[in-house]
Point group: C2
Chain length 201, copies 2
DNA sequence: CTCAACATACCAACCGGTCGGTATGTCGTC
DNA sequence: GACGACATACCGACCGGTTGGTATGTTGAG
């Protein structure tokens, strides 16, 4: 990683290393080596390793936010179809090495939730992304006449399923574990929105 | 933690520290301090820190295995009720600090899946536990005449939802995030097994 | 006497972070 | 357009403390 300015190269290197090894196991020196800069540069751009963690989470929110905003799953006219298309979009993202498709902030918050700034940045990232699904969830519930569904809660649940699937993937299941979880999630949503009055709550 | 022999004290201390700080951030010295033994004792019982990680995962499997085997959620006559009771049992376990109710092996494998022995031990723990749910899942599907459900896959999914819920909890949602995810899981199972032929697969 | 179960002392490598210094602008002023 | 003041971006040596791990000793039970 030797393109762009020092700061973004450090961020990219940190993201890659944290996704493969975790935050604590990734040393500042290793990030610098990967980014092709020195420790002096690191501490010029970030006051501490913790601050780098926060910046990496924020950068992750921005990059993934753009990716999802520009994706084509928003196109279907039916809101449920949009939600289902979102899940298919997530499935298409699951390819290559585990570190290539797992979530930076999920990995980060799992081991660094004890640091309040990092926890807040990761929480904002996950919840912010969940928030982008809320409107479609609500519209789907409305369109199908399903009353006892909390769109925000349902949106959060999609993220819980994804995060959990990543752990099963790391535990040995690989990409197949994520696809399997996504199938269950899809089925849940279909059952939920296809059965007004029988929502099982 | 100063009861029992050195080895189990080290295991208990490691479990507690890893659950709160993660594996890499937990030093051998910190584990020894917490267990009230010296480093000599540590390396007498475990050849390396990695081996301690494996042993902690194995011990976790054993302890939780006993806990779930002896729990009362196996009592209901109806298999679906048993599965639902399992989820309620999991909900009852969610209390106190985050580190008190989150999963050791889930935390461990997230950051240490790069170590094959640790990955294997964590995978065996999660999948082994999922396996204990399989029979009830299969019986529920059979009893309700729901065909296109893979009991093993469904059992794995319950674990994915739980692991993901723990991450949302760490991201700021706390115990409520886990309970919310458990509600969705329950609803999914109810919808799935209450609607033969409409399983949405 | 033996052997497991520890304790003590120690080591080289590595950790996050600091610090003095340098090269390259940028900007206001005369 | 020349000049001083200041900012930004970065370098790499260095620091004290911590790391996982080792070598050697002690102790108590069988």
């Amino acid at each position: 990683m030797t393109t762009g300015d020092g700061r973004s190269r450090l961020l990219a290197a940190a993201t890659r290393l944290i996704r493969t090894q975790g935050f604590a196991a990734t040393s500042v020196e290793a990030i610098c080596r990967e980014a092709g800069v020195t420790k002096g540069a690191f501490f010029h751009h970030f006051p501490s390793k913790e601050a780098l963690g926060v910046a990496a989470a924020d950068a992750w929110s921005e990059v993934t936010g753009r990716l999802f905003a520009e994706a084509s799953y928003h196109r279907p006219a039916d809101p449920l179809d949009r939600v289902l298309a979102y899940i298919e979009f997530r499935r298409a993202l699951v390819a290559g090495e585990i570190a290539d498709y797992t979530c930076l902030v999920g990995t980060l918050v799992q081991e660094a939730y004890g640091s309040d700034p990092i926890r807040a940045a990761c929480g904002a990232s996950i919840l912010g992304h969940a928030g982008t699904l809320e409107a479609d969830m609500a519209a789907a519930a409305e369109a199908r006449g399903v009353a006892d569904v909390d769109p925000a809660s349902l949106a959060r649940h999609t993220q819980a399923v994804l995060q959990g699937a990543f752990i099963l993937a790391k535990a040995g299941g690989g990409a197949a574990a994520v696809e399997e979880a996504l199938d269950h999630l899809k089925r849940y949503l279909r059952l939920l929105f296809a059965n007004p009055g029988a929502s099982g709550a």
